[in-house]
Symmetry: none
Subunit: 215 residues, 2 copies
């Protein structure tokens, strides 16, 4: 690509409002051109067969072939493809697996638009960029640091501790043993969380926690 032509971009995300908005943002840059959009991984595969981009921007969480599986397929079919992942998830183990796949960049969705522009240009030029999350060194630090999560969902420290162990597949008895409390106490905490988070059963808690990136 010479300096006079624009960077051709394909956008892949199942949230139409998001990619329409993102398209509008990217088109404010004179050197960017959005050449296609897809709302799922399968559609994206078809699209790049027809119009190959300089950079493909994709969300991971999608129906009909998720972002990661789609990216794998695209990279195996077109090893030169440059993929930037935008995700609402935000952890360092994600970065490791994305690099392993051959993905060229990663940004969380709360990124500044100027940073996005810079990263798209860098990736188009062959560089890579993986936004580092602030240090979540251990599982425990993750929770300790996630004060927002507690506040956001009105949970207490103890409840979060118990939720963490539920995510690690501990039974209530195992949790009680680990925390040196009564099985009854664990059950009460679980019941309280179920009520606060408006979910159903222990599996609902697990579902919620994993979808909010607690494990």
């Amino acid at each position: 690509m010479d300096n006079t032509s624009s960077i051709k971009i394909i956008l892949v995300d199942d949230h139409k409002l998001f990619i329409d908005g993102l398209c509008g943002l990217l088109c404010t840059q004179p050197d960017f051109e959005v050449i296609g959009k897809a709302s799922n991984g399968k559609e994206a595969l078809h699209l790049i067969n027809k119009t190959f981009p300089d950079v493909l921007i994709i969300d991971l969480n999608m129906p009909i072939l998720d972002g990661q599986a789609a990216s794998e397929k695209m990279i195996s079919l077109f090893p030169s493809i440059k993929i930037l992942v935008l995700s609402m998830y935000n952890n360092n183990s994600l970065n490791t697996s994305l690099k392993t796949l051959g993905i060229k960049g990663y940004l969380p969705k709360d990124t500044d638009t100027e940073l996005l522009f810079c990263v798209v240009r860098d990736i188009a030029q062959g560089k890579s960029y993986f936004k580092q999350t602030e240090s979540f060194l251990t599982f425990q630090n993750k929770f300790n640091a996630d004060d927002d999560f507690l506040k956001k969902h009105n949970l207490t420290i103890r409840e979060l501790e118990i939720l963490k162990l539920i995510c690690k597949n501990f039974s209530s008895q195992q949790i009680a043993n680990t925390l040196f409390i009564s099985l009854f106490t664990v059950d009460t905490h679980r019941k309280n969380m179920i009520q606060k988070l408006n979910v159903d059963k222990k599996t609902g808690l697990l579902n919620f926690a994993l979808k909010h990136n607690l494990a």
Copy 2:
């Protein structure tokens, strides 16, 4: 509001890329004016104290006072406020609780931009609109497409179907009812998956499935 003035809108979402993009989309309409943005519920509360909108558009999933708690506070302080919820979640029980709160509208984030514009206008005029979810066809397509997952983990079509329902927090009895099979059959399939995937208990299955992005 008379016909000659524009609809004043405030946007509340923690994904900066999303609200910047959404702002751009809304500003393409001559009768819309985005008068403020907030990245969390607390900021939104401060903002409406200063500049009251005709419509406030908010995501539910946010830090520092989530969308639902923030909406409750705003409605209690300003009962005339017209709130439209945009959410990545997509279920009908959400609609019921939003209406109970006094929220005027709900759309999922995969909504078409034209529908969004129409809904904003309707809400500004005092109407309400709550998008009803379609059936679970996309969920099913997702799994049908995920042939890789089956092969990778040595699961059968039926097992994956049951795993999918486990991820949606169905009990074994509910799964049996849904698939018109015996509870015993569900239990056997679950047991087989637990063995194949080398996990422990139903919660282990759920953990595995969610970490492999099956829901």
